[in-house]
Amino acid sequence: MPQMGESIAEGTIVRWIKKVGDSVDRDEPLFEISTDKVDAEIPSPAAGVLMAINVKEGETVPVNSVVATIGAAGEKPQATEVPKVPEVPKVPKVGAGGNGSKHSAQADGTPGATVAAPAPPSTTSAAPTAPAPQALQAPEAPDSERHKSSPLVRKIAKEHNVDIGQIQGSGIGGRVTKQDILGFIDSGASAAPASARPASEPVANIPVARGVGATVTPMSVMRKKIAEHMVLSQRTSAHVYSVFEVNYSKVDQIRKAKKDDYERAGAKLTYTSFIAKVIVDCLRRHKTINASIDGDNIVYHNEINLGIAVALENGLIVPVVKAAGEKNTLGLSRAIQDIADRARAKKLNPEEVHGGTFTITNPGNFGAQFGLPIINQPQVAILGVGTIEKRAVVIEDAIGIRTMGYLTLGYDHRLVDGAVADQFMADVKKGIENFDPSQV
């Protein structure tokens, strides 16, 4: 299991691309992994024949475990001689830092993850620290969506709104018996998830009644991570939102004029390019937005590492444009395009989803007027870009048609007060509306 980043202790083999006996070239994709940071295809470190696979699909092992053996070309697999790697699928991973500062969440507010109501802005002091070290991983994805039980158990489960899948069955083949489910209910476990569950799960775990025709699918590693990170963020930060309306007319003009130039230079000039440039410039001036809370300390980041939320088929990922503050609009455009493309192709380096200081997410892609994204911990703010469209607007007592859009700033009121956030946003608005064409 390759070390996919210093903070990664283990990885789950999602899929073996090669089978025992297949020949592989160096750097040919060998297997697919899922860590708590990233999903990636792992290339073969050497050419030869895949002699043995030691870790089955779905199993989680610590980094540096031997997951497979590659022999010289022409060699025949001899499974018995392969040293067996101890399976350590259930060792909970402990966060590296004493204060969770290394919890660089991969996931953030997505178009679909908008939150209905902003958190009350006053609940600040009680939990000043970022999440304490905690079990991040309980890779017990059930391999079957069906849980063995009995008519009686199903009836009891329905009555008590218990998810049978949460219960360890003592019967033959793991069948959940009456005794098991009654014990489970008595233990109060149905109200509070078992301790093996990630601590970041919601406390009130309301079981789901499964109606006729409902299908049950185990969460992917990525989905679990997103769930954990989202809940963790909601619990950690005092979320507040400000929404600004921005006139993109000028940006629109510049974009039309420069689009072809950019294309020739191998880059796409998008609204995101302009927004990212303005955000980077504003973050440089508004240090509080480009910061993190570390225990009782505030860390003001010098670097501006811009996270860009990318929707994937069954989830999302937030790759980071490192040192975004040192890039011009062209550089930012290229970098954003590059990481987004590679995120979709699962070709990201784990380090590329790590270390963001601010995140941009774009619910407007799908037509949302504005979103209320959840902060990507341990950052303190996130920008949600609403759809950009032509609207009728009042300009100096006249009604005109302009290219408009809303921008939302989700921010952590523990650190960022409303005035600070709104000054930042006013600056962003100004930056976009008065975008300097020479910057493109």
């Binding site: 009995s150 008519p151 009686l152 009456k178």
Partner: protein, 474 residues
């Protein structure tokens, strides 16, 4: 070492021989020490098999006696009677066929039968006093299984001479049908012999200390059996105690203290003592070895371990604190589970609430789980459904319309807690109920289970309907 085995089983009853076969199937080298001339123990030699053989004869007799009703010609029903030597010959042939079958299974599974009496000598060693003289030391490397079983027990003050005052051991091979017989105790053994001897033509009196027959069964079953017995002319004295019994030349004189407190003197040809069975551990050396015992029974845990490492016990000889039945099928299952445990399989304790209880009277009784009274005592909100066999087509064809199926369920989750069947094929019908309990089936599921027509099993489906309101055919 010649006399070293993985597992040594003491006793070849339904617990011991099944444990031996299962252990051998799982690759263990097994020896069984058994002193009897045949394998199979109480069940095959004195219990289940011979008594049920006698019952089949009783059934044949009954059909022949009612030849006219069945439209059989050439038979004078009134003149038909039983020929005991012929009955015993057929019964003994069945028994020897079955015990011989176990011998064959032993050979097939390479199980050594050491013919003699075993004594625990410490560790995993035994000293066997061989039937044909001499002693032999036998040892186990993995486990010794004590499966020495039980034997009939009397009660204080009643001495069994095995001639006029007898146990079931003697009752199975009486040379002739007694003119009259009193039976002490109305558990399965007592009522089964009552049913047999009545069929054979004896005057039968059942004397039960408790207020009802088959006191372990649901009260409705007891009432129905008493009704059926009385209809057949069996005299039932419940709440009555035999205070003395004296065997004389002609028969037995007993004194019975009745439910009304009055004592009466009665005389019978024979007195059958069917008051229960006790453990057989004599000569085993259990106490000397420090085996924990309780009133003669070997104390074991849920997976049949005694307090002495390497020694386990199963069957009639054990007690485990909770409920435990002295039944062949319980012993067999214990043997299987123990053998698998010894072979290193993951095993689970038996749920003794799911043990079927079969009583081969006429009408038969088959039951599993809680009685209505037990269910109520355990705090369940109980609902009950009953269906009588007289409303069932198949039962009418058989001319056996006594009895019913009664389902005891609880309202909260619709769980089936017990099924109590008295009537034709009850001992077969109970199998469905055992499965239902084990699989934790609700009454609703049982209702939706299709029962073939015309069968006796329809009564089970109908009773489940009744538990939810109303049966279809009544």
């Amino acid at each position: 070492m010649a006399n070293e085995y993985d597992v040594v089983v003491i006793g070849a009853g339904t617990g011991g021989y099944v444990a031996a076969i299962r252990a051998a199937q799982l690759g263990l080298k097994v020896a069984v020490v058994e002193k009897q001339k045949a394998l199979g123990g109480t069940c095959l030699i004195w219990g289940c098999i011979p008594t049920k053989a006698l019952l089949e004869h009783a059934h044949a007799l009954k059909v022949a006696q009612s030849a006219k009703e069945w439209g059989l010609t050439g038979i004078d029903g009134a003149a038909v009677s039983i020929d005991m030597p012929a009955v015993h010959a057929r019964k003994d042939k069945i028994v020897s066929g079955l015990t011989g079958g176990i011998e064959m299974l032993f050979k097939k599974n390479k199980i050594e039968w050491i013919k003699g009496t075993a004594r625990l000598t410490g560790g995993l060693s035994l000293e066997v006093t061989l039937n044909d003289g001499g002693k032999q030391t036998v040892s186990a490397t993995k486990e010794i299984i004590v499966a020495t079983g039980s034997s009939p027990r009397s009660v204080p003050g009643i001495d069994v001479d095995r001639k006029k005052i007898i146990f079931s051991d003697e009752a199975i091979h009486l040379p002739s049908v007694p003119k009259s017989i009193a039976i002490m105790g109305s558990g399965a053994v007592g009522v089964e012999f009552a049913s047999i001897f009545k069929s054979y033509g004896s005057e039968v009196t059942v004397i039960e200390l408790l207020p009802r027959l088959v006191p372990g069964e649901d009260e409705a079953v007891s009432t129905e059996l008493e009704r059926a017995f009385k209809k057949r002319g069996i005299k039932v004295m419940t709440g009555s105690k035999v205070t003395s019994a004296k065997a004389g030349g002609k028969g037995v004189d007993i004194e019975v203290a009745g439910a009304d407190g009055k004592s009466q003197k009665l005389s019978y040809d024979l007195l059958l003592v069917a008051t229960g069975r006790g453990p057989v551990t004599e000569g085993l050396g259990a106490e000397k070895l420090g085996l924990k015992m309780d009133r003669g029974y070997v104390v074991v845990d849920q997976l049949f371990r005694t307090n002495v490492p390497g020694i386990s016990a199963i069957g009639d000889v054990i007690t485990m604190g909770g409920p435990h039945y002295q039944l062949a099928h319980v012993s067999s299952m214990e043997g299987i589970i123990l053998a698998e445990r010894i072979a290193g399989h993951a095993v689970q304790p038996i749920n003794y609430d799911h043990v079927p209880r079969c009583t081969y009277t006429e009408p038969e009784i088959g039951s599993v789980g809680l009685t209505e009274a037990q269910a109520k005592a355990q705090g369940h909100e109980v609902r009950v459904g009953s269906f009588p066999f007289r409303a069932l087509a198949r039962a009418r064809m058989a001319g056996e319309t006594d009895g019913f199926v009664k389902i005891v369920a609880e309202k909260k989750y619709d769980e089936i807690l017990g099924v109590h069947i008295i009537g034709p094929r009850a001992t077969e019908l109970v199998a469905e109920a055992v499965m239902a309990l084990r699989m934790e089936v609700t009454v609703e599921e049982l209702i939706k289970t299709i029962h073939a027509h015309p069968t006796m099993s329809e009564a089970v489906g109908e009773a489940s309907h009744a538990a939810h309101g109303a049966a279809i055919h009544i």
